[in-house]
Symmetry: C2
Subunit: 315 residues, 2 copies
């Protein structure tokens, strides 16, 4: 199958753009008064997913992690390009992969407007673009002393699945299935990101682990933070099954959850809790921003120390 | 070296953007009245370049092939994201690669505004964005019956280098050096692309081989073409060294030259030749667009038949 046939068959759909797949470049028009938010994430077989993962899920997640960056910026996801290296033309795999990719793109209003296909070890590089009213993007550098720190959903579920998959954690089948869905089909918090414009002082998505990601906000804002383990929303697993240290490691340093972490003034608490109701997204206050740099997590009166603070591809 | 240190050290430079590397997304603003042209090209070790290629040249070319797509659209290259998978953190390699990448980006006015670094088999995915006045982009679908077909520069040089590198063609050292420069440091025809707005009816860059690429214009425009081998500008090599069939294969079907091929009304001939002078870019008329579909290359009265029409990653 030639490259052009392959693109036509699997990667060409109607788009919301002035010009889509099939020329040297796509053409889009950004609404007046809006900035374009641009982000890129690469998914590599063996690094980001197990090679035997259902291609539908690989496609979904490759798109979802990019959409999540738009959510984190408070941007409306609009367009994406896909560059994919394939070891061979496996039509079953391509069919599943493209269905998963488009399912996620459709779910979040993203048009695939271009890209590249080539031969090579399996690698999926997506570049996403979204629109945000000029000056309203959620940045990392705006956290203020006294801000509450919030997270959406529950952290640690993807990491617990991974522990199970690697044979380090024994779980019941139905629990595994629930965690697997979080790992493989993350639901980026786009509606939440949009709603947080004008409310959050700083925001990002939790992809490498809460402490690692939150520390980017702290560095960019020149602040510190104190978190209270007792406030954290925990995955619903029988605690007998999971050691406290394993749970803490997963929740505080596990990556791949794609929830949002944001800071907001204490005065906005009620509004944020109302938002949680309206959007049907759990939002939990887990701590606060401090003037003194440093990031502390307290479990009662004890400071939690972790062996790994988060995910680093080059550790 | 952690991912963030690596990005800070090698891939962070001052940018022309509202927000560059370091947040969940970059923020750019497209000028009112302009469309954004978006294109992505992936370069894979072993597919697009030999693994032992000087990393500076890998960096230059990975950016150049993307810039070339902007040239082909008549768009001004402005911004790019880079996603790169690296088998290991080799600081010598990274230093050379990033220098080559930025040398090309700087040469053509491109700001690197974001991206991703991860571990995996060497793979470089760039997404480029440029600006073009709304409605003025050079498309593939506008060729008209009777249009002249033009190419910039000389085709086939990169393909001849490749033949030499693969031991199929014996050339003198200084000729090899000249061809190698074309192969590894293509100079995208950005100024030409911009100047062709309002003149060319259709355009693209020659990356997969002239016949393969030109056929995209013909398909998109619903036209045919006849080319005259006698008109082609040939690489300056002693003909005794290169068989006529080898030369024809390289010029007509060799990829990787990144010259522009465009069609324009016969009435614009003088203007185009004047442009060649002004821009100091050789422009050669090699044939014409026909109403009848099909693509013929005549060598005198004989029709040239090639064994391969162009490059296809999945042949």
């Amino acid at each position: 199958m030639a490259e052009f046939d392959l693109i036509a068959k699997y990667f060409t759909r109607p788009v919301t753009a002035d010009l889509g797949v099939g020329d040297d470049a796509a053409l889009i028009r950004v609404r007046p008064g809006y900035q374009l938010a641009v982000s890129a994430d690469m998914s590599v077989s063996g690094t980001h997913f197990f090679t035997d993962t259902d291609p539908y899920l690989i496609g979904w997640k490759a798109m979802a992690v990019n959409v999540s960056d738009m959510a984190a910026m408070g941007a409306e996801p609009r367009w994406a390009t896909l560059s994919v290296a394939l070891p061979e033309v496996d039509e079953d795999w391509l069919s599943g992969f493209s269905q998963g990719l488009f399912a996620c793109a459709d779910r979040y209003g993203v048009s695939l407007i271009g890209g590249d296909t080539t031969r090579g070890p399996l690698n999926i590089a997506i570049n996403i673009m979204g629109e945000v009213p000029a000056g309203e993007a959620l940045r990392r550098n705006g956290a203020q002393t006294g801000d509450d720190i919030w997270v959406s959903g529950k952290l640690g579920q993807a990491a617990l699945w991974l522990q199970h998959r690697m044979g380090r954690l024994d779980l019941h089948a139905e629990e595994v299935a629930k965690l697997a869905t979080v790992m493989h089909q993350p639901q980026p918090r786009v509606a939440l990101g949009l709603a947080l414009r004008g409310i959050a002082h700083a925001a990002l998505d939790v992809s490498d682990g809460l402490l690692a990601d939150l520390s980017h906000i702290l560095t960019a804002s020149g602040k510190g933070a104190q978190l209270d383990w007792g406030l954290f929303p925990l995955p619903e697993l029988p605690f007998s099954q999971v050691a406290r240290s394993t749970m803490q490691q997963a929740v505080l340093a596990g990556g791949d959850d794609y929830e949002l972490c944001f800071t907001a003034p204490q005065l906005r608490r009620d509004e944020i809790l109302q938002l949680a109701q309206t959007l049907d997204v759990p939002l939990t206050r887990i701590g606060g921003i401090t003037a003194v740099p440093g990031l502390t997590v307290l479990d009662g009166a004890t400071r939690i120390e972790l062996s790994h603070k988060g995910y680093n591809h080059f550790d």
